[in-house]
Assembly symmetry: C2
Homo-oligomer: 428 residues x 2
C-alpha cells in the first residue's frame, strides 16, 4: 500500500483517484450483439453461448430436473448457512416495507403514495470459478418480498453446459425457477429485448465484468432500468488506537482478493497502526489462495495518515466508499456525520464479510464514488411508488383559483380551462 502522511488537502483528489475505466469503446460490440438477438432471438443466444462460453447448449432454460438434482449436490452445512443468511436478509429487507399515510394537503384534497412491485425483473449472476450464490440471495429475496411477478435469473454455464448447484439450490430455495444459462452481453441483451425463450424485463440487476457493465449501460439507454452503475469493489477503513491491526489487515485483504482492480484504503490518525497493519498484511497474504490478486490490488491502494477524525471524515465523504469500516473509539462521530458511503460497519467485531453474506444488509452497493448520489440495492429497488389524488368539489373550489392563476402565468390555457370548466359548474 502506498503510504501518505499528512498529505496537503489539494493532493487529496489525486490520492483518492480511482482507476477509471471508460466502457464506451465496448458499446459498439454490445450493440452488435443486441442487434443479432433482436433479429434472431434464441438462435443468436445459442450462437453467442457457443462462441463465448464454449458450449453447445440444447436448451437455454435450466430444467426442473437440474434444479432438483442441485439440492442433492449441496452440503447440509452450506444449506444451513444459506438458510441463516436468508432469514436475516429477509428480516432486514422486510422491515423496509413502510406504508405511508394519506395526506390532506388542504380540505378536500387528498394525496397518497402506494408502493407497487416492478412486475418483471431480471437478475444477473456472474460466472467464473466461484458460484456467487450470495448475490442470488441479495437480489432474489428483496424481489420476492416486493412481490415482483416475474423474476428471472441469468448466469453463464460452464463448458459442460452446467450451472453450479449452489446457485440453482439458492434460487430455488427463494422461489426463483426461471433460470437461463446465459452469460455476459447475451444475457443482458436477452433480458433487455426478450426472445422466444427469455422474457423481456423492466429492470436488470446484478454485477458483472466490463461487458456486462457496458451491456447494462446500453440497455438502460434504450429504456430498461438498471440497479446502478458498476465499478470495482472497494473498502475504506478508518481506525484509531482501539483497532486491532490483525482485523484491519484481514478486512483490507477480504476486499483486495475480489480483483486486481479492487481498491482498499486505510485512514488513521494513529501513526503506529500503519506499521502494525503492514506487518499483518504480509503475514496474512502468504497463506491466501488468491494472494496474487490481493497483492496487485494492494499495490493500487493507499494508507493515509491524517491529523484527526474530522479530517478522516472529510476524506471519507470526498471518496464516498462502497464499504466503510469504522474501528474508532468514538463510533458515533462517524454514524452521525458520514454523508457518502454505501454500507457502514461499526466496531471490531463487524467485518465486511458479515454484510457480504449473512448479517441482513444488502451487498449490492454503489462503487466508484456513486455513493454520493446512489443507495445500495434494497426493497425500494424492486418497487415504484405511484402517487394518487382525489379532490372533492369543495377541494377544487379552494384549490382551483390558484391553479388558474399559475396556468395562465405559464401560458397553458388548456390547463387553466380544465379547472375553470369545473369551477363554472360549481358556481365559482
Amino acid at each position: 500500500m502506498k503510504i501518505f502522511k499528512y498529505p496537503d488537502k489539494n493532493l487529496w483528489p489525486e490520492i483518492l483517484k480511482r482507476p477509471s475505466k471508460d466502457f464506451s469503446e465496448l458499446e459498439s460490440i454490445v450493440q452488435e450483439v443486441f442487434e443479432q438477438i433482436k433479429n434472431e432471438g434464441d438462435k443468436a443466444l445459442l450462437n453467442f453461448t457457443k462462441k463465448f462460453d464454449g458450449v453447445n447448449l440444447q436448451e437455454i432454460e435450466v430444467s426442473k430436473e437440474e434444479i432438483e438434482n442441485a439440492e442433492r449436490l449441496v452440503s447440509e452445512q452450506l444449506k444451513a448457512a444459506i438458510q441463516l443468511a436468508k432469514n436475516n436478509i429477509r428480516k432486514f429487507h422486510s422491515s423496509q416495507a413502510i406504508k405511508e399515510e394519506e395526506i390532506e394537503t388542504i380540505e378536500g384534497v387528498r394525496c397518497w403514495r402506494k408502493a407497487v412491485p416492478i412486475d418483471k425483473v431480471g437478475l444477473y449472476i456472474p460466472g467464473g470459478t466461484a458460484p456467487l450464490f450470495s448475490t442470488v440471495l441479495m437480489l432474489g429475496i428483496p424481489a420476492k418480498i416486493a412481490g415482483c411477478k416475474e423474476i428471472i435469473l441469468c448466469t453463464p454455464p460452464n463448458v459442460n453446459g452446467e450451472i453450479h448447484p449452489a446457485i440453482l439450490y439458492t434460487a430455488s430455495l427463494i422461489g426463483i425457477n426461471k433460470i437461463y444459462k446465459l452469460g455476459g452481453t447475451q444475457a443482458i441483451g436477452a433480458m433487455h429485448l426478450g426472445t422466444e425463450c427469455v422474457p423481456k424485463v423492466y429492470k436488470i440487476f446484478g454485477p458483472g465484468n466490463q461487458y456486462v457493465t457496458a451491456a447494462k449501460q446500453v440497455a438502460n439507454k434504450f429504456g430498461t432500468a438498471i440497479d446502478m452503475p458498476a465499478g470495482p469493489s472497494e473498502v475504506l477503513i478508518v481506525a484509531d488506537q482501539t483497532a486491532n491491526p490483525a482485523y484491519v489487515a484481514a478486512d483490507l485483504l477480504s476486499q483486495a482478493e475480489h480483483g486486481a482492480d479492487s481498491q482498499v484504503l486505510l485512514i488513521t490518525y494513529h501513526e503506529k497502526l500503519i506499521e502494525e497493519v503492514e506487518k499483518e498484511l504480509s503475514k496474512q497474504l502468504e497463506v491466501l489462495p488468491r494472494r496474487d490478486i490481493a497483492n496487485e490490488a494492494l499495490e493500487n491502494s493507499r494508507t493515509i495518515l491524517v491529523k484527526d477524525q474530522e479530517e478522516a471524515l472529510e476524506i471519507i465523504n470526498e471518496y464516498a466508499p462502497e464499504h466503510l469500516i469504522v474501528s474508532n473509539e468514538d463510533e458515533n462521530f462517524f454514524v452521525e456525520h458520514v454523508k457518502n458511503a454505501g454500507s457502514v460497519f461499526l466496531g471490531n467485531y463487524t467485518p465486511e464479510s458479515a454484510g457480504d453474506y449473512a448479517s441482513g444488509t444488502n451487498h449490492t452497493l454503489p462503487t466508484n464514488g456513486f455513493a454520493k448520489a446512489y443507495s445500495g440495492v434494497s426493497l425500494d429497488s424492486f418497487l415504484k411508488k405511484i402517487t394518487f389524488q382525489r379532490i372533492s368539489e369543495q377541494g377544487i373550489s379552494k384549490l382551483g383559483p390558484a391553479i388558474e392563476v399559475m396556468a395562465e402565468a405559464e401560458e397553458l390555457m388548456a390547463h387553466k380551462n380544465a379547472v375553470s370548466i369545473r369551477l363554472k359548474d360549481l358556481n365559482f
Copy 2:
C-alpha cells in the same frame, strides 16, 4: 383522435406504440460541447450561450439585484397562488420522510438504514416562451426538505440576457439563490463537469428538449446521476357513463397543448361517450391559444373502446401512462389494481392540472412507459440510504460460522479469514 373499437389484443402493441425517438445521434454533438466545457470552462459557456441563445452575457450567475427586482415584477395574485402551491407540495413531500427502525436480525447483529441528503444537486428549468416556475417548486421543495446542501438552478436567458421574474421569485422564495443563466446542453454540461463559476453536482433534475435529454444521458453515462429518462408528456383517461364529457375533453386538451408529440388516450366501455367527447374537443379546441399544437397532438392520439373495466386495466398496465385519470363509477377497482402509472387522478373534480401545479403531488413523472420501472420525483429522489451494522462479540459468534461456510463455498478465503481471525480470539 383515432378511434379503435374492441381491437383484438394482438393489435394492442401497435395501437399503444409511442412516437419513439432515438437521441444517440445527438450524442456526438453533446460530447463536443462537454469537451469544450471541460477545456475552457466558463469561456465555453459564454460562447455557447451567445451561439444558442443569441445573447452576449457578462455574468453567468444571476445577481442579488436581479433576484430582488424579480419580487417587484410578480403580481400579488400570482405570489399568493405560488404560496398556496408551495404549502401543499411541502406538506405532501414532508410526509415522505420516514425514519426506519433498527433491526436485530439475530441476537447481537443490529442493522439499520439512514436517509442522507444528496449533497449537491442541480435543477434544470427549460426556457421557451413560458416560465416554468411550477417545476422550480416541484424540484426545489423536496431538495430543500431533504436538506441538500448545495442546490443550484440553471435556466436559459432570453435574448436580453434575462430570466423570467416568476422563476427568480419562486426560486428565491424556497431558498435557492445560486441561479445560472444557462440553457440546453451547456447547462447540463456545466453541472456535470463543473466550471470556475458553476459547481459540479452529483445529480441533475429537470425536463427539457431533445438536447437536454441527450445531454443528461451522456452525463449519466459518465457518472452523474439523473432524475429519470425523459419523453413527451402523456395522459390516459379511463371513463365510463359517470364521466362528464366536457371535463374529459378539457383534461385531454390540457395534456395535448404541451407539445405536438404529446400523447393522450381515452379508454372507455361506454360507447356513447366517444362521440360526446369528440364534440367537446372540437368546441374547446376552437378557443385555445395553443390549438395548433393541441390539434397535432390529438392526431397522434387514440380513443379505444373496450368491453369492460378489466380490459381497460390491462391496457393501462401495458401502456404505463405518466398520468392516469379515472372517471369511473368504481374508482377503487383501479386504485387497487393499477400497476404501472406515474400519478393517478380520481374522480370528476380531480383534473390533472391540480397535480401539475398545486395539490401537493409532484409533476415530474415517468413518461414513455418508464412507469413500469420508475417512480416520479419525490423526497426519495434527493436522498440516499446508507446501511449501518454493528455486531457484538456474541453476534459474530453466532453469525460467523455461517459466513465461513459461505465464503469458502464462494472460494473467497480472505472473506472467511476476516471472520475466523475474530472467532479464534473469542475462542470459537
